[in-house]
Symmetry: C2
Subunit: 258 residues, 2 copies
């Protein structure tokens, strides 16, 4: 047991804002933000989460410094602060919760283990895009990150091939960055070799925010330039279908039966 008095430790609550608008943020998250003495996060997400009260300390940090931000949050909380760590979407899905647990797992300071830690889930980007498009995730699916910052590209290609063979719907996060613009084209070539040309594809960019864009296309027509890091890409399975809408658009859904 640590010698630190548990009552001296504060709290760290990792909150998921959902896609962006306040209408899609849970009351539990809004309450945790209102109760915090210190609020940490990437500036874009702090802008979505605010405004904050004058007595609340707000600290923005770079989106790529997740582990650094998590360690800073534990330090504040161990000193007695009520810290809210802001994440977009669901903190548990390609977002801040894993970085916070990594920081705790490798904690130098035993006081960090006395911090009251909680994670409050939210609606993730693929769910928000799926709901606008219909129900493309209505049956078995996978969520994969295409970023090779933390995972070898060969492993990403191996996983893509297997989930295509399993005929899962694919929800692809972090699909295409400026630093590695060609890898998405490689992933797309791999998927095209395994799925029909007419397979429905949904692109959700900034869904739930003012610049929201939803695109429904087909696998054969998808161009890599339509995709960036703010896009979530949903590729249908062999069963995913389109329904034409009277307004000229269409719904996309994956039937529950196989």
């Amino acid at each position: 047991m640590s010698a630190v008095d548990a009552h001296a430790a504060g709290s760290l609550t990792v909150v998921g804002l959902g896609p962006g608008s306040a209408a899609q943020r849970t009351p539990a998250v809004s309450a945790a933000l209102a109760a915090a003495t210190d609020i940490l996060g990437y500036q874009t997400y702090l802008d979505l989460a605010g405004p904050f009260a004058a007595h609340q300390r707000v600290l923005a940090s770079d989106n790529r410094e997740e582990l650094h931000r998590a360690r800073h949050a534990f330090g504040l909380a161990a000193g007695g602060a009520r810290v809210a760590m802001v994440s977009s979407g669901d903190p548990g899905v390609f977002a801040m919760a894993a970085a916070v647990l990594e920081a705790l797992d490798h904690a130098d300071d035993p006081a960090w283990r006395q911090v009251r830690l909680a994670i409050l889930p939210g609606v993730s980007a693929a769910q928000a895009a799926a709901a606008l498009a219909g129900a493309p995730l209505g049956h078995d699916f996978c969520a994969l990150s295409l970023s090779d910052n933390l995972k070898p590209w060969a492993e990403i290609e191996r996983r893509l091939a297997l989930v295509c063979e399993a005929d899962l719907v694919l929800a692809l996060y972090n699909p295409r960055s400026k630093a590695r613009p060609d890898q998405f084209a490689q992933a797309l070539a791999l998927i095209r070799a395994r799925r029909a040309a007419h397979t429905p594809v949904v692109l959700g960019r900034d869904v739930g925010r003012p610049a929201e864009q939803l695109t429904v296309t087909r696998l054969a027509a998808l161009r890599p330039e339509q995709v960036d890091m703010r896009t979530v890409v949903i590729v249908g399975s062999s069963r995913t279908r389109r329904i034409e809408r009277p307004d000229g658009g269409c719904w996309v859904y994956t039937p529950r039966f196989y």
Copy 2:
């Protein structure tokens, strides 16, 4: 184009309650429930969503009659009603949205296509269980239904083998029903042949509701009797880790790096 006047048609909004408590339900969903003239759903979910106003019509139906319920909802909406269809979790993840789109896809009545249809996402069961446990879905994962009502069991086993080979975290929905109690044991045997005995497993039952139960165990220790249809089962990947907590419990997370 249909001969039906678009202005005569009502609306159908499929709403996701999230795990259960009002604190984890989005304001968009609460607003849609308040604005509805007619509210349809499985009784258990209507109990979570209510109470409703005296002027609102509430119609409970059996949980297994999803397509029937969806067709009834379109009929009401085509007649001018503002219908809310209640789903637990996220309607887009093993819930009502796919059934609603199936009903629309096979619509006999062209008036159904004039209905203003919207789907409002929510926090799904695996996300709620993951948040309580830490961040087990923090890296690549899949969501699979183990129900063979709508999919052959051989296909379920084929998919399980492939996603195990891909080293994805598994979120298993509808894992074990009274009608097919032995299939979960078969799935478990298949997973055990492919994952280490110490792999962390999270069982979330009724998470977010008064009877909430969270169990963290290991693959070798999991007994099928611990699991029923109200449980979501999360099986870690080769990278998923445990962190002991001062209270005797533990956190489970999957690191972001591979």
